[in-house]
């Protein structure tokens, strides 16, 4: 799963265009480096929701933070419109902030416990001195109402008086207050109960329609990603595996890792015997010493020597369906069942 290559980048208008992005973190003073994002290229089109999905350690959150420039990448380009965010520093970078916003996983940690909700949502407007006092207050009330919070009652309260779901709504209100073009959503529903999760997913769809947003939606739950995305990119160990429209990707995954992920999802149907599914064993290898060639080969039931020697390039196997694999699965082809379960 190498995922290098740019065959999947579109020629037309993009809001965000990430090219050859590398992010490495030093590990203590050992001199070792974790390569969290290893040469990713991806684009986000105007008005779409791009889903980024993968297990922990695949680099999806780091990618999101590197786009935001909260984590500075080691090399590569992050084109936001026609500005390369990677070349900006300090004040210039700060000027781009209101256009690019973020929603976090932990709704409670993402709100300052000692500030009142009204102030939290107003922060961006205050920083950028958007409008006068009255119009800022009106904007705060508007966005809070839109996300389904009783604004008048909420502005004077502190975050701990709200539930997790409500805190996430407030986070969304804060993010849209400065009228951004793009919002990076980093696992926005994974800390929520299922019933609340559905409310937030619906809300994000509504906000997207209302404010004409472009979303990058990062999550580990494939069903959630499918529900909200227009295109889905699957990541593994800092590399891109596969990128396609959700209906196509989920119906006929071409990358063995995507197929394994899909088969591992617990299905709420007792007629499906979960132990007979195809899948992969083992766990993600250490990002300190990623496998050579295709990074997924150590767990891949289809791996050959070629996979160890040569990193697969992203190729288009069907219209709008790109995969980085030497031996992509054909439509209808399934992974062999897990040996452990057969035995």
């Amino acid at each position: 799963m190498a995922g290098t290559g740019k065959a999947h980048l579109s020629q037309g208008e993009t809001v965000l265009r990430i090219e050859d992005l590398f992010v490495e973190f030093p590990v203590g003073r050992s001199g070792l480096k974790v390569s969290a994002v290893a040469g990713i290229s991806i684009d986000v089109r105007e008005g779409e929701t791009l889903g980024l999905v993968g297990e922990s350690g695949c680099g999806k959150s780091t990618l999101g933070k590197a786009i935001m420039q909260i984590v500075r990448a080691n090399s590569g380009h992050v084109m936001f419109g026609d500005i390369d965010l990677m070349t900006l520093q300090g004040e210039e970078l700060r000027q781009t902030r209101p256009r690019l916003q973020m929603i976090f996983q932990d709704p409670i940690s993402s709100l300052n416990p000692r500030r009142r909700v009204g102030k939290i949502v107003r922060e961006g407007l205050d920083i950028w001195k958007i409008g006068d006092e009255a119009s800022r207050q009106a904007k705060v009330l508007e966005v809070l109402e839109v996300v389904g919070i009783d604004a008048e009652a909420a502005i004077g309260r502190r975050p701990h008086e709200f539930s997790g779901g409500q805190c996430q709504r407030i986070s969304i209100a804060r993010a849209v207050a400065t009228e951004p073009r793009v919002i990076i959503c980093d696992e926005p529903v994974s800390a929520l109960d299922v019933s609340v999760q559905a409310q937030i997913l619906n809300l994000l769809e509504d906000m997207k329609a209302r404010y004409g947003l472009t979303l990058v939606f990062i999550a580990h739950d494939l069903a959630v990603v499918k529900n909200i995305s227009d295109r889905v990119a699957v990541m593994y160990l800092g590399k891109l595996c596969e990128i396609a429209t959700p209906d196509d990707l989920y119906a006929s995954p071409a990358h063995p890792y995507t197929a394994a992920l899909l088969s591992a999802i617990p299905v709420a149907d007792p007629e499906v015997n979960p132990t007979l599914r195809g899948g992969v064993g083992g766990e993600i290898p250490s990002p300190l010493a990623p496998p050579s060639g295709c990074r997924f080969r150590t767990r891949c039931p289809l791996a050959t020597e070629k996979c160890a020697e040569e990193e697969p390039q992203i190729q288009e196997i069907r219209p709008n369906h790109f995969v980085a694999c030497h031996f992509p699965l054909a439509e209808g082809q399934e992974l062999p069942a897990l040996e452990a379960n057969i035995a």
Binding site: V194, E205, D221, S229, P266, D269, G281
Partner: protein, 349 residues
């Protein structure tokens, strides 16, 4: 407590033909400054040997407190526990810790959600497994080490000799959960609680751990109570499912019956609010309005009535009892149960 007195206490009751676990009207309240939190409010069920029960609910439903209350793992201070929990006929509510210590590990064990915090970070994994073995089974150190080795390989840990000498932080999340399972099954408990055992794990690892729990449960003929918020986790892996809401079981049925013929509006709503992989992208999700109930001042009547699409005045004033099991073993507490089958209403494939 010595083995002798333990034998004595179990001799007073007919243990062999009693069901493994009978929970009757179990209540567990927490005293807080804001009032009494009714975390578990009158739960009854029976679990036979070797059977698996899935307990499903959202946070605040009381599912976790129920598991801990049955096992007697709650702090004594500021906790009111009443009702009855009979394990092989022996009453555990009100039992002191020395009696409970005979049960913990030996008769019943628990696998926790977060393997990182439930393992001792400064003790080698091998020692953590053998400790319980030697305490309960009174075996030699060598024998315990051999058993630990066998346990680690049986839970699918490669190179068990090396792993025995490692500390928890040297292992991945999945490996740690395997170690937790090894510790839990070490003394051959008859009842295993798994409290959200895979919530902290990745999808591919989650599937492996659930498979492991299932094989261990079958091979060892353990009964298992699998506590989770995810109906998908219990669907293919349990004999029966109990759905909890506001500290009560609102619906309980054999797994297949529940999914094909669900009756409680909450179960229906829960199922339909999960995004389904089989649905096309951008399918509008059905949501449950409102918020989970306040456990200090719960709504009158049916606890779900403020959020229920079908609620009437009767629901808001009169609490429906959990019905007696029908011919399928299906129980629910609702005045106006859902008539349609789950497949028609929720579109589960």
């Amino acid at each position: 407590m010595s083995a002798e007195s333990f034998a004595e206490s179990s001799a007073t009751t007919p243990s062999s033909d009693a069901p493994l676990l009978v929970v009757n009207n179990l209540k567990t309240y927490f005293k807080t400054d804001r009032g009494l939190v009714r975390a578990v409010d009158g739960v009854s069920f029976t679990l036979e040997r070797g059977r698996t029960l899935g307990v499903v609910g959202e946070s605040g439903s009381g599912k976790t407190v129920l598991a801990r209350s049955i096992m007697g793992l709650l702090p004594k201070r500021d906790v009111e526990r009443s009702g009855s929990v009979k394990f092989e006929g022996v009453e555990l509510v009100g039992a002191d810790n020395s009696l409970m210590a005979q049960y913990w590990g030996d008769q019943m064990a628990m696998v926790f959600q977060d393997p990182m915090t439930s393992l001792n970070p400064v003790m080698r994994v091998g020692k953590q497994i053998t400790e319980g073995l030697r305490q309960h089974l009174d075996i030699s150190k060598d024998h315990a080490n051999q058993t630990a080795l066998a346990l680690l390989s049986s839970v699918g840990i490669p190179e068990p000799e090396r792993r025995l000498r490692q500390y928890p932080h040297e292992m991945s999340g999945g490996m740690r959960q395997r170690v937790m399972i090894a510790i839990a099954i070490a003394c051959g408990p008859k009842l295993l609680f798994a409290d959200e055992p895979t919530t902290a794990l990745d999808v591919t690892v989650q599937a492996q751990i659930l498979d492991l729990l299932q094989t261990q449960q079958r091979d060892r003929y353990m009964a298992m109570i699998l506590v989770t918020h995810d109906l998908g986790v219990v669907a293919g892996r349990t004999d029966e499912i109990a759905v909890m809401y506001a500290g009560k079981i609102v619906e309980k049925a054999p797994t297949k019956v529940l999914f094909s013929n669900l009756r409680h509006p909450y179960t229906e709503a829960l199922l339909s609010s999960i995004p389904k992989i089989s649905d096309p992208s951008h399918t509008r999700l059905k949501t449950i309005g409102g918020r989970p109930p306040n456990l200090i001042n719960p709504p009158t009547g049916c606890k779900f009535s403020p959020r229920c699409a079908y609620a009437t005045d009767k629901c808001r004033t009169e609490e429906p009892p959990l019905s007696a099991p029908d011919s399928d073993g299906h129980q629910f507490s609702c005045w106006f149960p859902v008539e349609l089958s789950a497949k028609q209403t929720s579109g589960v494939r």
